[in-house]
Symmetry: C2
Subunit: 465 residues, 2 copies
C-alpha cells in the first residue's frame, strides 16, 4: 500500500472548500466535531445493528419479527435517552411468502434430449403463489413493454420472462433502478392482461452473483393476479443464452405467497423535547421493516441505527434542541408505507406544527450529499453550512427532497424534507436479497452518515432552513 | 428502500459544480463520458482481477506467484493493446514465511489453574522465525514507545506486546495508520535493544474481526533480530482484558520467516507511443506484488487492473496520446520498492524525459479526490478541470503527490506526481490480511477509479499540468 501519509496539507482545490466555515460557525464546527468523535468511538451502533440483523433478521410487516423489532426499537430509543417513547398504531398489509420458492427451466438439447436446470428465484412481495402443484408453461422472453405488446397474441398460457438488464452506464444506480422497477411493479398485471399465467423478472441489480432480488409488485386489478418471481442474474444469463441459441424454454414455478388480512403494526417514536419551541417538530427516521429473506442491514437497518445513534450522541453530549426532534422508526415502508401515512395523518389530526423532516433509506454507505430543497431561500444557508459537512465527506447538496417515509409529512405540511445520499455503487448488490446482511455494512461508513445527519438536524434546529 | 428517483435535478449547491465544464472543454467532457461508458460496460477488469486474485493470489517478491503474475501481466498488457510490452529486471528481496504461524497465551485462572488460549497471529514480513521449537516468555504490555522506555529494565527475556489501538476518530484512516505503523516497522528492534526475545503487535486496522494484519518490519541492526507477529484485534482485546485483571501472561510463538538471498523480479511495462512527443513520458501504474496470505485484491490488484483498464479503454476508443504513456506494473512495493527504484534508475541512465506520473495504490474504493500538486501554476488548470471529474464523483483535488511507486520518478525528475484517493473507510478492514480478497472489491467502485485516472491522464496529455 501507499506509504505517504495523506491530508498533511489542507490546500484543497475547489472553491467551496478553499476555506473552513466562516467565523460565525466556529462553535458549530466544534460541536459537530464532538458529535463525530462520540459516534466514531461508540460501539452502540454496531451493537444495535448486530441485534437487529442477527437476532431479529427479516421483519416484514405483519411478521413475528416485526413485533420483535418494534419491541427492540422501543427499548433502544429508551436506552439512547429519549424523553419519551411511544408506539403509534397503524394497520399494515400482511403478505407471507408461505414456503420455499423454487423454479426450473426445461429445454431439449441438440440431440433432442430434455434437459432441466434449476433457476434461483424469489417470489415478488404481494404476489399470489402457484401452490404446491406449481405452474409449468412455455417461456416468452421480452425486453420491454413494447415487445410485450408486439407479442400480446402469443402470451396466452405462457410465462413471460422480463429480461431488462440494469443500465450499468448510469452512474447514479438509483436511476437504473428507476428505469427498470416498473417491470417488477406491474409486469405481472401487464402480462396477465394477455393471458400469461406467470412472470419471471430479471433481478434489479448491478451485481454479478446469482442472488434473486425480491421487492413488491402491485396487481392492477384482481383479475390479473398471477405468480411472479425475481430471477438471479446468472440464471437469467443462462436462460438468455439458451433462447438466443434458438431453444424453446419451458419454466416451472413453485411459489406460495399469500396476502392475509391487514394486521396491526406500529411506528416507534422517541422524542427529545424542544427547549424553546416544544410544539414545533423536526422528524428524523428510517424504516424498521425489511424483506423476509434479508437481514435488513442496509435496507434499512442502517437508517434505523443512524436515527437511534443521533439521539444517543445528542444525549451523550448533553445537547438539548430548541425544537422537538422526533426519532421515528417507521413501519411498513417496503410494501405499503402505511407507517408513513399514519404518522402524517395523526400529525394532521392533532394540528401539529412540523418544520423539517429527514430520512435515511439509501444504505449505510459512505456519505456523498443530502437531497434537500435548494432554492433562493435555502441556498445561502446551505452554501454557508457546506464547509461544516466537508470534513465528514459531504461536499455538495443536491436539490431534491426526502424519501418515501417523510413524503407524507412533506406533502401534508409543505415542509422541507431531506434525505441522506450515500455513495450508491454497492446498493443494488445487496438490495432486497440474501446479500443484505450485517457483513455488507461498514460501520465507519454508516457512522459518517449519522454524523452528517446529526449535523444537519443541529443546524436546522439552530438556524432554521 | 427509498422510492424517489435521484438526480432528476442537477441543481447542486456548491460553487465548483454549479455549472458544467466551460465551453472549451465540451469535447473533453464527451471523450471522458465515452471512456466511462466503455469501462462500465466491459467485463475485462473483473476478469483480470479474478485471475490475479483467484488463479494467482498472494505474490510476494521472490515467490513463484510473483513469476506467474509477471507472466500474466505481460500478456494482459498485450491483450489490452499496448504498442510494446517489456519486462524490466530488478533484484528483489526474497522473504519467505516458511510455515504456519501460531501463538498461544498462558495464564493462571483465579483458582491457580493454568489456562491457555490460542491467539491469531501472522509473522511480520522480513522477520526471522522462532523455528519449530518456538519461543516462550512472559508478556510485557506497552502502549507506546514512552512506556517501552519506562519499562526498559524489565524487558530482558520477555515478549513485548505493543497494544496501540487505531485512532478511530481520524476520518482519514491513513492518518491512523501513519501514527501506528512505526510499532510494526521498528517495534521489534526497539524491544530487542533491551533484551526482549519477541514482539506481538496489535494489528493496524479499524476492523472488528480477528484477522491479523501483516506488513513489513525493518531491523535497525543485525543484533536486534527477534521474531515479531501481528495479532488479531479480538485476541488483542482478550489479552488486554486479562492483563487489566492483573493476570501475568506468558506467550508462545512459532514462526518460520527467513530472508533468502535477493532474487530476480521485474516491472512489467506496456506503452502507448505518443503521436507528437514520443520521447516525453507519462507514467501510470500500481504494484503487482502482494502479501502472501492475501489475494492482493485491494492492495494492489485494484491499481493493477485500473492501469490495464485505462490502456484497454484508450485503445478501444482509438485514442492516441500526444506523449508516450507507460503503463507500469511495479515489482516489490511491499517490502522494498525495488521496482520503483529500478524504474527511476533506468530512466535516469537513459536520459529519458518524464512529464507526469500517476499511481493507484489506495484501493479500488469509490473515488473521492486526487492527491496532486496544487500551486500557482496548476491551480487554474485543476479548477477548470474539476467539472469534468464531478460526474464521476471526484469533487475536489488535494494538494500532495504520488505514492511509493512513483516517488522515485518524482524525486529524480522533479515532475508532478499524483495518486488516486478513493474513500478510505474500508481500507484497513482488509489491508495485509486474509480479508483482502476479490469479494471485498466492488467492481463499479474500482471502475470509477479507472475512469477518473483515464480522464486525468487524457487531460494532462492534452493540456499539460
Amino acid at each position: 500500500m501507499r506509504k505517504f501519509v495523506w491530508f498533511a496539507s489542507l490546500f484543497i482545490s475547489s472553491a467551496a472548500f478553499a476555506q473552513g466555515p466562516s467565523a460565525a460557525y466556529v462553535g458549530d464546527s466544534i460541536f459537530i466535531h464532538n458529535i463525530a468523535k462520540n459516534v466514531l468511538t461508540s460501539k452502540a451502533s454496531y451493537n444495535n445493528l448486530y441485534f437487529l440483523t442477527k437476532k431479529i433478521g427479516g421483519r416484514l410487516a405483519g411478521s413475528p419479527q416485526m413485533v420483535l423489532a418494534e419491541k427492540w426499537g422501543y427499548a433502544a430509543l429508551q436506552e439512547a435517552g429519549a424523553d419519551n417513547v411511544r408506539l403509534q398504531q397503524c394497520m399494515v398489509p400482511h403478505w407471507v411468502r408461505g414456503g420455499k420458492d423454487k423454479a426450473a427451466v426445461f429445454y431439449k438439447n441438440d440431440k433432442g434430449v430434455q434437459q432441466s436446470i434449476p433457476v434461483n428465484v424469489l417470489a415478488l412481495g404481494n404476489s399470489i403463489g402457484s401452490g404446491p402443484k406449481g405452474i409449468k408453461a412455455q417461456v416468452v422472453r421480452v425486453n420491454d413493454f413494447d415487445e410485450l405488446e408486439a407479442k400480446k397474441n402469443d402470451l396466452k398460457g405462457k410465462i413471460v420472462f422480463y429480461n431488462v438488464p440494469f443500465d450499468d452506464t448510469l452512474l447514479a444506480t438509483f436511476q437504473a433502478y428507476g428505469k427498470n422497477v416498473v417491470y417488477r411493479g406491474i409486469g405481472a398485471s401487464r402480462a396477465a392482461k394477455y393471458g400469461a399465467v406467470g412472470v419471471m423478472v430479471r433481478s434489479m441489480t448491478n451485481g454479478v452473483d446469482n442472488a434473486p432480488h425480491t421487492g413488491s409488485l402491485r396487481y392492477l386489478d384482481s383479475t390479473q393476479e398471477i405468480p411472479a418471481v425475481a430471477v438471479g442474474v446468472r440464471d437469467v444469463e443462462k436462460m438468455d443464452t439458451l433462447i438466443d441459441a434458438g431453444k424453446s424454454l419451458t419454466a416451472q414455478l413453485f411459489t406460495y405467497g399469500k396476502m392475509l388480512p391487514d394486521t396491526i403494526g406500529h411506528n416507534v417514536i422517541g422524542e427529545l423535547t424542544g427547549t424553546e419551541h416544544p410544539d414545533e417538530i423536526i422528524t428524523v427516521g428510517g424504516h424498521l421493516d425489511a424483506w423476509d429473506v434479508t437481514e435488513g442491514a442496509t435496507d434499512d437497518g442502517a437508517g434505523i441505527v443512524q436515527t437511534i445513534e443521533i439521539l444517543r450522541a445528542f444525549k451523550s453530549l448533553g445537547f438539548r434542541p430548541k425544537h422537538t426532534i422526533r426519532f421515528v422508526l417507521f413501519a411498513n415502508e417496503e410494501n405499503g408505507t402505511r407507517g408513513a401515512k399514519a404518522y402524517a395523518d395523526e400529525a394532521k389530526a392533532q394540528h401539529e406544527k412540523h418544520i423539517f423532516a429527514l430520512e435515511s433509506d439509501a444504505g449505510g454507505f459512505t456519505p456523498r450529499s443530502f437531497s434537500i430543497p435548494i432554492n433562493a431561500d435555502t441556498k445561502p444557508k446551505l452554501d454557508a453550512w457546506l464547509p461544516l459537512f466537508a470534513p465528514y465527506f459531504i461536499n455538495y447538496f443536491t436539490n431534491g427532497g426526502g424519501g418515501a417515509d417523510v413524503g407524507p409529512i412533506h406533502e401534508t405540511f409543505k415542509v422541507p424534507a431531506a434525505e441522506l445520499m450515500p455513495d450508491t455503487q454497492r446498493y443494488f448488490d445487496v438490495h432486497h436479497s440474501t446479500n443484505d446482511v450485517l457483513e455488507n455494512v461498514n460501520m465507519r461508513e454508516l457512522k459518517l452518515g449519522a454524523i452528517n445527519m446529526a449535523a444537519l438536524l443541529y443546524l436546522v434546529d439552530k438556524y432554521g432552513l
